[in-house]
Symmetry: D2
Subunit: 379 residues, 4 copies
């Protein structure tokens, strides 16, 4: 668990809200509710039961922290959640209680809820990424002819243009985001397969229930994936790669912002005691994210080695890991979008630094611009 | 950020409380307050200022989430916290406000708060570890002569005793805990060095302030460590090693609990639908922890490569990483302490399984017991 | 560096050969040779120079270990390699020596060589994966009706079929391999951009040289990616995901092989001293690979945060990391292909274990088979 | 497996030699030979057998690569090694062959060989670390009064002294090395426990054999640790922490070497085409090491979760991981020792940069020097 003061730099308000107790709880209840509705529609459970379940399935009826604590006894919060939901339904319609969670297993609920939560993060990330991409493209165009020092191993090399540098940032970030976006979409597959993944408890109605549930929840239909976590692994890796690309840009910005280089500056006022100082605070936030994500990806991948039809430990490691990955990725995206929108570019300083190297300045602006345009064509 | 439903298995209530916004905020304020008190004592700031600061430095006067959000602009929540504290002090004693945070830097506060929080987790972990150690020792003694199948690569080998197996768990966990305990104690070093780590702003009073502050906060005195993070790295690694040792035990318990093996059983009732089923829920929780910690350790180590006198990204990655490491370690400890206290051991089944292998059963009980006792002598 | 005894389990002979000094050196020389040929074709350097360079560019003319050692002074072995190649060319055609490595930078050579080496591993991996996929499909079909215990958290749940379990393995491995195969193909992009990535030294001939060189080396054309490593990151992650999927299968096989379960057995004779013992040696090899790859993926992702136009440290970390990732992935693939081809399946034991649970055995063979066929439809 | 061109930057010649096939093979044979000698001394096997075994146990009698390949069938190269050694002994003394590897298990040999190899790396690392420490201390003393810009978040802060900065590097590296040195020494524990870790096959002679073998091989005596890997985990972590500390110094050097900063310069001539350019090649090598080690540490920790009395996968992951950790640590140490010995420090440029900030330069040289001396007192 982490609080705002512990992890406020590593999330955004919108993403933190998606993974809040209230949001997570409501999504879990939405899955139970939709399941009952779908099963009633297929004549598996009474319509009155579905109605009672839907009425009961509201997050404010339950205490998320208590459910999570009780969940330690069964290694999943779904077991106490189902018990609590049954109790609440029973208090209104005793007969309906037994139809709660009918024919499914706890991981059906938690996995479906997880991909629904991930899906909700996609438009949030997309908004930030679109903002970032548009600003980077415009900046690259505006500086197509702005010459500056190229730097290899942190030493001056032949000149580049700032437009080309920005286009390199754009290409890396853009491809990584498109891949992550596709990965989240592809991972949004219903999990509905019952205790050992055979849909046994629903007889010949199993696959139809799954179809209808996927439809009701706007998820892809598909066979069980209780211990086949490859699609979520692609999401995890996608976060790692995107954060790496954002971190590369952040590293460059923080280096270009150095007092002795002074070629760009992040927005934000200087410190009161040191007016010359504009800290690369946004870049630092993105770099912190890029420091954290590789290990989180490793944790996800480690958890893929899951036992038989449901793992003892592997999937339980996934929720905090994926939640942290998505949030750090969103934090890095937000940070660099803000940095880019407010970035001050000092053409004159770029020129001075470049000329200060005192070397013949080999650059073909035509070639550099061709490369720049190729990079902007990414995706 | 993670909520209870996202990460309830990966923490304990006591450790979650240590890293709650209220707790973190109060510790940060305690450092500011102690600093003022110490500086007043040394005649650096007026006593009245210290009194006003102490009165203002109460967590319930501030909104942690807001401070954390504002902190994104400066890559640290301390900057808005100091501003808010100054404002509150000013509303009571205008002259005192400028003495808030006198001569120090934001990382002095955040680092000192961090090691104070870590120190608070030590007795919590110690309680659980002591419980676990005592139960394991007693179990090892009780089963000094309980023969069972030894298993290598998950295949039967020559017999062992259950007491020897338990002693191996004990040895690994015990040594790792002692090392972590020492690491937390060793890391509890005051950070008080001012903007670039030279104590420049306090003139010749710098080191005396540091001494007194360390004393007031019951921390070790020591030179600055703004970008020298080795002691905290030992804490991070210690969490990874201890969780690995707990995960080894959890793996064994989950394997011994298999229906086809049936030699031990975790406490906890069976499922209502399947009375034969007692899930290794505690072991699953410890295994989930052991799945997560290696990547978190990697994140910490990656962040060690910090720039100059204060890093842009490296230390910002530390808070959520260390908080997660300590909490997963505590969760795994609690889980295995509970598992051990309630573990059912089926001597008869151990005998049957061993004899069922149909091999000559080579074991010297004397030798096995000597090894067992050697292992219990760990630390 | 690792020798056969240190890392023999973590590679295959064919993949070890790809990354041997002789192979790596020859690929690097092939790039230099093709560059000269292409530049001669475009009239940039004399044809005689290209001929002399091609004649000199043979691995057995150079000492890889010495070049690698000398490369420490410049953080790349390409610098001493170019010097050595120039010297050798000069000994035959003094005028030609200066045309070695004309207009390019060391990372152009090393990156191009790297993706060529990766591309060579694809058919090796493909052969193993095809063998594994075919065997898994056939096994799944043959056991479409073979009922066995389903197991959740290592405890008996409702029955499954072995065909369904195998299909789950198939689906995870198949998708992961297809993604890795695509990733390797997509990463095979020429690197030819000169010192700061602007193709400056080749004037208006830069892009045509790049086109022709890509064509000559059968690589994709594309803009520079000296510090934009996203495509290789997808390869690294793809190795991690595939190894995770193989590790999941290996975990299951090793568990099913337990003496007390006895439902499958890996090929291979028993130990001489313990005839009952058939170790899951292949699964152990795959599990060792799955233990290593998450951390290697993390290392790759960490290295993505590269400075400016060429990194100081980031890309230097890539070669051993990618070489280890591909080799461990190949080792796990080979191990599980061999395991699958020789796997003994004990239907009778599966039936006994299932019936031994003493529970009503809910399974709809029709539903299970429908799910099985869905899983086999993966990709 | 990795060759020189793949991983030459990530090792040193001396450390690569320790982990070469010849070295590893000889150490494994040395353990078998010492075991026989010790057992003969205790009257367990005939003296003639010990003599024959010792004569046969020479690395040049065997083909390491072949043994490693054959070892895939049993997930350890020790099985084919023992078979080959028996065959060789049999060709000389048929009766002696059965006394090869008497009463022990393959992991006894591999674990003992592993810690012997690690122990051999300690003096190599020590030599480099001593060189580095002495140079850093002298440099810190020489620059006790050299003022320079302090930099936080890569922006100018109040001044520091270069001596203080160097002392911070020293403190982090020194403590980390001392801890690693202790960890290697502490891990050098004999492994001699037989198939399931009970010493069963040696009757009442088991512990005496272990004592004598530990003595013969100059290792600590101790109970079995086949699946209790905590001491080696401390070594792995120690490598990660030391490399992190070296990486911090390397980051600083590479930043201070920037053309626009120009305060220090690594040794090494400039490039022929760009005389202004002195690349931070040594720092890049250390930074590459620091990029790789966190993931390698994660891999080691992941492997700690080992099954029962011998793991299927966990320990097999250790050899290449530990070998890579030690070698990258040695490479980073060597790189930074060389960097430090040849470092050019430009006092004048430091002064100019500091004054160029145009701020009042608050620094108490006395306080800074006190802190510097405290840091040099580390360990």
């Amino acid at each position: 668990m982490s609080s705002y003061l512990v992890d406020g730099l590593g999330t955004t308000d919108a993403l933190a809200a998606v993974f809040s107790d209230e949001s997570v709880l409501q999504v879990m209840l939405d899955v139970e509710s939709a399941l009952a509705r779908v099963q009633a529609g297929l004549g598996i459970i009474p319509q009155t039961a579905a109605t009672a379940i839907a009425a009961a399935a509201r997050a404010d009826h339950f205490d998320a922290a208590s459910l999570a604590r009780e969940g330690r006894a069964s290694a999943t919060p779904i077991v106490p959640l189902v018990a609590a939901l049954r109790a609440r339904v029973a208090s209104v319609d005793a007969g309906a209680a037994s139809f709660v969670h009918w024919g499914v297993t706890s991981q059906d609920i938690s996995d479906t809820a997880l991909v629904m939560l991930l899906k909700r993060t996609a438009p949030i990330l997309e908004g930030t990424q679109t903002r970032l991409a548009q600003t980077l493209r415009a900046m690259s165009e505006a500086h197509a002819g702005t010459r500056m020092t190229g730097r290899t191993l942190l030493q001056p090399a032949t000149p580049i243009t700032f437009g080309l540098k920005v286009a390199t940032w754009y290409a890396g970030i853009r491809r990584a985001w498109r891949q992550l976006e596709e990965a989240i979409a592809a991972a949004a597959v219903i999990q509905c397969a019952g205790p050992a993944g055979t849909l046994a408890a629903l007889g010949d109605k199993g696959v139809p229930v799954r179809w209808a549930l996927a439809d009701a929840l706007a998820l892809h239909d598909g066979p069980p994936w209780h211990t086949e976590r490859g699609r979520l692994a692609v999401v995890a890796c996608g976060c790692g790669i995107l954060t790496g690309a954002l971190g590369k840009m952040a590293r460059d910005v923080s280096l270009l912002m150095q007092y002795e280089v002074g070629e760009v500056a992040e927005p934000g006022g200087g410190s009161s005691s040191m007016p010359h100082k504009r800290n690369p605070a946004g870049s630092a936030r993105a770099l912190a994210a890029a420091t954290r994500t590789p290990g989180l990806v490793a944790a996800y991948l480690t958890g893929m080695v899951q036992e038989h039809e449901r793992a003892a430990g592997g999937w339980q490691a996934e929720w905090p890991t994926l939640a942290a990955l998505i949030q750090t990725t969103g934090a890095a995206s937000e940070a660099m979008a803000d940095v880019t929108e407010g970035l001050t570019v000092d053409r004159e300083r770029m020129r001075q630094n470049m000329e200060g190297v005192g070397e013949p300045m080999f650059i073909s602006l035509g070639a550099a611009d061709a490369l720049r345009r190729e990079l902007l064509d990414t995706l």
